[in-house]
Symmetry: C2
Subunit: 578 residues, 2 copies
């Protein structure tokens, strides 16, 4: 592990992107990144974006399974702290490198450099993003693509690939959004102005304007415009892998390519049993790979559309073009882009989720669980401030990272009493809460090493009648098996019978549908402290998460650099004092 | 000294504003402050303001000379660090409490509490403000008023007092301003939208609209409007002390009260030889007290006007009313408010500065100096980025606070070589720099204990022809004597003869006028590290400052809590390691 510190702003150290022989087949890929704000034009309108080495989105990391990734992350922001979470990477043996502020490390202060060092153990489509305040919303994200190890065979067959990182974009600056969410009464951020594909969207114009009934003008771009959509240039009769990842702050998306079927082959970095579809739902925090075969009329181009589902959409779809190189590259298709399925056709959404099964050779889940949590998701108030709560606790991440508190057994770092493992049996999930009030807490769920944990996510009605939202839940440090989805309240002793224990997919993010439940299972085989939370940025900001800790006595060395705040800073400064 | 840490966000500790008997006459005044953003309406238009305990401006501290002030400052911001500088307090023996991020302490991270503890040794009008990034511009400021110690006699005679904290306000958010200043090419923030008095301004309306030629409507306010100006209610034939402090980010201001003369009695917390004036210039970082006698027609009210000078104004004056309680309180004056003197009548400005002499009994300066710096102020470029430089070094404050580096002799904390103490003799101050380029540096000027230092601030032409600006320079940790002002280049051996060594005023902030020089003198009697910089927030952000260190071997204990960043954090974590 390399720790380099840059004490002087005027002095520069250079770390080349070095690929050093590590083992016969694995490499160390080392990057020096600086994060700062800049003005950008993500959707052709100027806004403030967080940039990595001047790039928005940040640079794509390409690595092979088994490689070690080392990122020297320097905070060049004026006043804000910073972390980066490597979304989908399990951080086996490196829990301190997970990049969740307050959970696995302290935020990196301005002027400081923190070094992430972790191994990527299997191939998959991932991404990285800020995990402090609402910096993901501010544009701190990029792609992280792991291919099969050298000498191993990629089980998928394709001739080329595209990588599409999807996000949503607001014109209101993130600080203002955050103040609004923290105000009393809460001000909701509203729907995004634009959907971005690889950081590019088109506000107030469309590549498919002639088919739109919204009177949007047709987009015209100058060479080099930062917001011009990337067209996907393909050759006829080839197969392309399209990697999709959603870093949205809020939007659930649907992706479709005009005239082409999609073969879904990967979900959250795990091969799945391939299935074909006309379009694909993707929630915030999810990734997919689809294979697309260019078997259509080679003289034409085809629209690609990315629209909003799950919430009443007020954001036009992102539109770009699949360009057969045999057709004029600037020619627009003659028929309208694929229409995004109705936003509130939740049966359709669930049907899509239920098509996903593990691929051949994927590990099977243990047949039963050792511990089970039933986590009720509710919208509540605290003293008039709007919050989200889990079993009536709204998470307030403490100033001392959990990983440090458990590593050094700091009893005042957080409340060591477990939060509730279930919710009252008489709770009516179909109506607004009878008691609208909740409380903040920072307790965590502590598990022994190597036990099987089931989590039942239970949805409910929000503060207003007839409102229950989709929540995509993301677990750090693990893939989990998705055992099943159901309607209404989970019925212990009965609903387990509907579980798919044969070929449940391994994922790190799963949707909880309105008024329903989602069951997942994982094994506590990765000593550390792991965030589990709704991946909707404002929901997390309002307390919608829990924390799992496992194998506490097996947690290895944690670099001091990760713990230089709060009680761990005091502890480390005084540990050798007489 | 009390250090209280709040490890759990959900747990509250309460520190009452306790006034505890300390000595016979001195008290300890203890405050628990939380800083967060909120939406406010400083000039009747919504904006984001930094608030202390929900208040903007922050609460006023009232204390008596000799008191100890203890502020437990908790950072409740989502992602930003924080410090507070106690502007005008010399911090004798407590250099770590000066609140200059990167100079005397690390920024306080979100969720953490830092305790300032310092003595206020003499009466005076002061204020406090953020000193990290551009958080002063974001509204982090408040008043700090020290009265004479109990049992001592206030030499000024007055029947009542008013406290007016002046500032300027932009509608562009501070992050966007900061990105603009850091962009290539630089985007200047432009002139403020409004001038605020005690955090209140009126955008797009005026209390003196009927006399305005700008077609502004007359302001109308509802009860409790946050932007309604505070009227000064006075009784006839009394004398009032009006305390003025300027926390502006940019604007040089002029203050006048219709029909009333002002007797200027205090400058920067020091009594001066009283003189009368119709209006008073006040630069960012300065404070004054004026005495006003209510000897005019008691059936009328009178306008108070605060306008912009020194830069071509594009901000309407702030206007409020001096209300004789014998006149109807809502009645507006029948004649126009005092007109702000012509912005570029610099002779008038200098004449005002030159009227200020030390009060009776004020200590005299040493007759000569031991060391002298001649500091050339220039506007330059670094790789196309616009900067300000002093003797061709643009200050880049390092990640490790200077105070920690000098205390623990950390040789890599900054560049220990002194920056230049003079500038090339052939430099042409009347024209744009021949070499437009400068470099960043973080070297500091180190002085022995108890020597006399002269600083000659030398102005010059900026990057554009025929442009030289006013820079109000502020010194931390000291009052200095203002020995004189002059035109053109300071001529060593000649211009010293013009010094006022008899009764030069003691100040902590002094103006440097276009194409001129200003000479000041101080004694290095306060062991510590002290920032000396242009008080214009964007200028400081662009590097316009230097750092003085003195009496290094006499610096007392620095709380570890002040140094938990950068190299000092590493040092403190490892100091007792084998």
């Amino acid at each position: 592990m390399i720790h380099i510190h840059k004490p002087l702003m005027g002095m520069w150290w250079i770390v080349a992107v070095a690929i050093l022989a590590h083992t016969a087949s694995a490499a160390v890929r080392e990057y020096a990144w600086e994060v700062e704000y800049k003005f950008g034009w993500p959707d052709c309108k100027e806004g403030m974006v967080m940039a990595v080495n001047g790039q928005f989105p940040g640079p794509t990391i390409h690595a092979l399974a088994g490689d070690t990734i080392v990122v020297h992350l320097t905070n060049k922001l004026a006043t804000e702290g910073l972390v980066i979470h490597w979304h989908g990477i399990r951080q086996l043996g490196s829990p301190w490198a997970d990049g969740a502020a307050g959970v696995t490390q302290c935020a990196i202060s301005p002027g400081e450099t923190f070094t992430y060092n972790f191994t990527v153990d299997k191939p998959g489509t991932h991404f990285y993003h800020g995990h402090y305040g609402m910096q993901r919303s501010a544009g701190l994200y990029g792609s992280l693509i792991i291919d099969v190890a050298k000498g191993k065979k990629e089980p998928l067959r394709y001739d080329g690939e595209f990588n599409l990182l999807l996000s949503d974009w607001w014109h209101e600056d993130v600080l203002s959004q955050e103040i609004g969410l923290s105000s009393r009464p809460m001000r909701w951020i509203g729907e995004a102005q634009s959907i971005l594909v690889n950081g590019r969207g088109q506000f107030n114009c469309s590549l498919a304007a002639q088919f739109s009934n919204t009177m949007l003008p047709t987009c015209t771009f100058k060479e080099g415009d930062q917001c011009a959509p990337q067209r996907l240039h393909v050759e006829p009769n080839k197969t392309y892998r399209i990697r999709l990842a959603s870093s949205t702050a809020l939007a659930s998306l649907n992706f479709a390519v005009q005239g082409h079927r999609l073969l879904v082959v990967e979900a959250d970095g795990n091969y799945i049993t391939p299935f074909t579809t006309d379009d694909i739902d993707i929630y915030s925090g999810e990734t997919y790979s689809v294979l697309l075969t260019t078997d259509q009329d080679t003289s034409k181009n085809y629209y690609i559309s990315v629209g909003v589902r799950g919430r009443k959409p007020n954001t036009p779809p992102a539109v770009t073009v699949l360009n057969y190189v045999t057709a004029p590259s600037s020619q627009l298709p003659a028929s309208p882009p694929p229409e995004t399925p109705r936003w509130n056709d939740f049966d359709r959404s669930k049907n899509f989720s239920k098509k996903i099964f593990a691929g051949m050779g994927s590990p099977s889940p243990p047949e039963t669980f050792n511990e089970r949590l039933i986590l009720l998701n509710t919208q509540n108030l605290i003293d008039g401030f709007t919050k989200w709560a889990i079993n009536n606790v709204s998470l307030a991440v403490p100033g001392t990272p959990y990983l440090g508190s458990v590593k050094y057994n700091l009893r005042t770092g957080f409340n060591w009493n477990s939060p509730p493992k279930d919710y009252p049996v008489d709770y009516d999930i179909m109506n607004p809460p009878r008691n609208r009030n909740t409380k903040q807490g920072n307790g965590i769920y502590v598990f022994p090493f190597n036990v099987t944990v089931d989590v039942i996510l239970q949805n409910a009605n929000g503060l207003n009648a007839n409102a229950s939202e989709i929540h995509p839940w993301h677990l750090h440090g693990h893939d989990f098996w998705v055992l099943g989805y159901g309607e209404g309240k989970f019925k212990p002793g009965i609903d387990e019978k509907t579980y798919n224990l044969k070929n449940p997919p391994l994922r790190n993010t799963v949707a909880l549908y309105p008024y329903g439940w989602t069951a997942l299972r994982f094994v506590t085989d990765n000593p550390g402290v792991w965030f589990f939370h709704c991946h909707i940025e404002p929901h997390l900001h309002m307390g919608m998460g829990v924390v799992f800790a496992e194998g506490l006595n097996r947690i290895g060395k944690v670099p001091d650099e990760a713990l230089g705040c709060g009680l761990t800073k005091q502890f480390l400064m005084n540990r050798n004092n007489p």
